[in-house]
């Protein structure tokens, strides 16, 4: 089986400081991988390098494209990479405001991505947008409201709808449940798990919440100071961590 995403030796420096160093892994279709580590460990840098938001100093990010098979997205032309970002890739930001257009209605936010891939029929776009609002449990009566009138949890769900409407195959998520209260978090986790299963999505989730990765991710990578210190099955890394830092991380979780 061809990996959907194959990351090889990705390195990003900020001057003398290391953002992330020599990260390699393969992600297969339908897999969900978590990346954990304390803040400053390089997990967001890595995610941004993979998603094409940052240009790594070295390494390859090979994506199995629908038409041409595996291609290195780093050396791809900008328009091609942007096309990927609108079709097969999706990026869920930690702060929904970064991923939404706050001055456009909820329906418009979902519809924009559809128009970017060539949909032109207003009725179809509106129907699809309404359908997706329903799937992420936003009432259809809110379709013409701006996201500024939504709560934080609703904005996050709207961002997910906007991202998934074009049926991407790979979703990058940066702290998708960060800043939400626990009941909303639970609802979002349930939603994400259902979407991953039903749409056969692959996802890479950056978070510092170990409970979130246990429930969502099949595999886990632990990062410290820009390097991957441990990787493996999620429950193996959490139940039987091998590296000193992973052991510290797992034993530092507060019990509720």
């Amino acid at each position: 089986m061809t990996p959907l995403l194959s990351v090889q030796g990705v390195t990003k420096r900020y001057g003398a400081h290391i953002g992330c160093a020599d990260v390699s892994f393969d992600l297969y279709p339908g897999e969900v991988m978590g990346i954990v580590g304390e803040s400053g460990s390089g997990k967001s840098t890595l995610l941004n390098c993979m998603a094409g938001h940052l240009r790594p100093d070295a390494g390859q990010v090979v994506f199995d494209t629908r038409t041409d098979g595996p291609r290195d997205t780093i050396t791809m032309s900008e328009p091609e990479r942007r096309m990927l970002g609108r079709t097969d890739w999706a990026f869920v930001h930690q702060h929904a405001r970064d991923g939404l257009r706050m001055g456009v209605s909820a329906g418009g936010n979902v519809g924009e991505r559809l128009m970017a891939v060539g949909e032109r029929h207003y009725g179809d776009i509106r129907d699809k947008a309404t359908d997706w609002l329903g799937r992420v449990e936003i009432d259809a009566s809110r379709v013409d409201d701006r996201p500024t009138t939504f709560s934080g949890g609703m904005q996050q769900r709207l961002q997910i709808a906007r991202n998934l409407v074009t049926g991407p195959r790979l979703v990058f998520m940066d702290e998708p449940t960060g800043g939400l209260d626990v009941s909303v978090q639970a609802r979002l986790l349930d939603l994400l798990r259902g979407l991953v299963r039903d749409m056969g999505l692959s996802a890479i989730i950056v978070t510092h919440d170990l409970a979130v990765v246990r429930l969502l991710a099949d595999r886990l990578m632990v990062m410290k100071d820009g390097r991957v210190v441990e990787a493996g099955l999620t429950d193996q890394v959490l139940d039987d961590p091998q590296h000193a830092y992973s052991q510290l991380l797992v034993s530092s979780v507060l019990q509720v």
């Binding site: 297969y28 897999e31 009941s183 639970a186 609802r187 986790l189 349930d190 798990r193 299963r197 246990r214 429930l215 099949d218 595999r219 493996g232 099955l233 429950d235 193996q236 139940d239 039987d240 091998q242 590296h243 000193a244 052991q247 510290l248 034993s251």
Partner: protein, 227 residues
Amino acid sequence: MIELTNVSKTFTLHNQGSAVIEVINDVSFSVAAGECVALTGASGAGKSTLMRMIYGNYLTQAGQIRIGDVDLVQAEPRQVIAVRREVLGYVSQFLRVVPRVPTLDVVAEPLRTLGVSAEVSQARAKALLGQLNIPERLWSLSPTTFSGGEQQRVNIARGFAHAYPAMLLDEPTASLDAKNREVVLSLIEEAKARGAAIIGIFHDEAARDRVCDREIDVSRFTPKVAA
């Protein structure tokens, strides 16, 4: 079906002066299809550790653990995931679920991930929940608020939803009343009859004698620690 060859495990506690604890040393045994084997030994002997090694959430330092034709010690994460989805079931002592998900969906989930339709998996889930005497009015609620015994039964229903060829059972009859214990034992007997290879930990001796074909004393493999 399940075959362990020269399996050993140590824990290294880096944050406690790099203490190295040897827990399992040189275990070899196999379990055939249709056979149920009990792991025995005093508390702390390493029964649960051995079981977790077989499930793959504890890393094995040496040896081979073969489930069907896959060696879990060497396998890639995605191979382990595939084995767990299709071949190897595990009923743990504790239920771990996404909050807010209805009991019926929790039990149906293993079948859903195998691609079985919603109707068929829900029908199977309903049958199991009914058999295990979980009142129907609770099926649409999340099991996180249930009593310990109810959670245990939901966990068992989930574990038996798919007809796994190999199963690991960690104290399946603990905290159950006589009636439900009987249901669980008959589920185990049914699984054996259809050819499942089962490894179990039972503190309940009567249950062990009834469903298990033989016993393996884990303390034999535990390195002797100077007191």
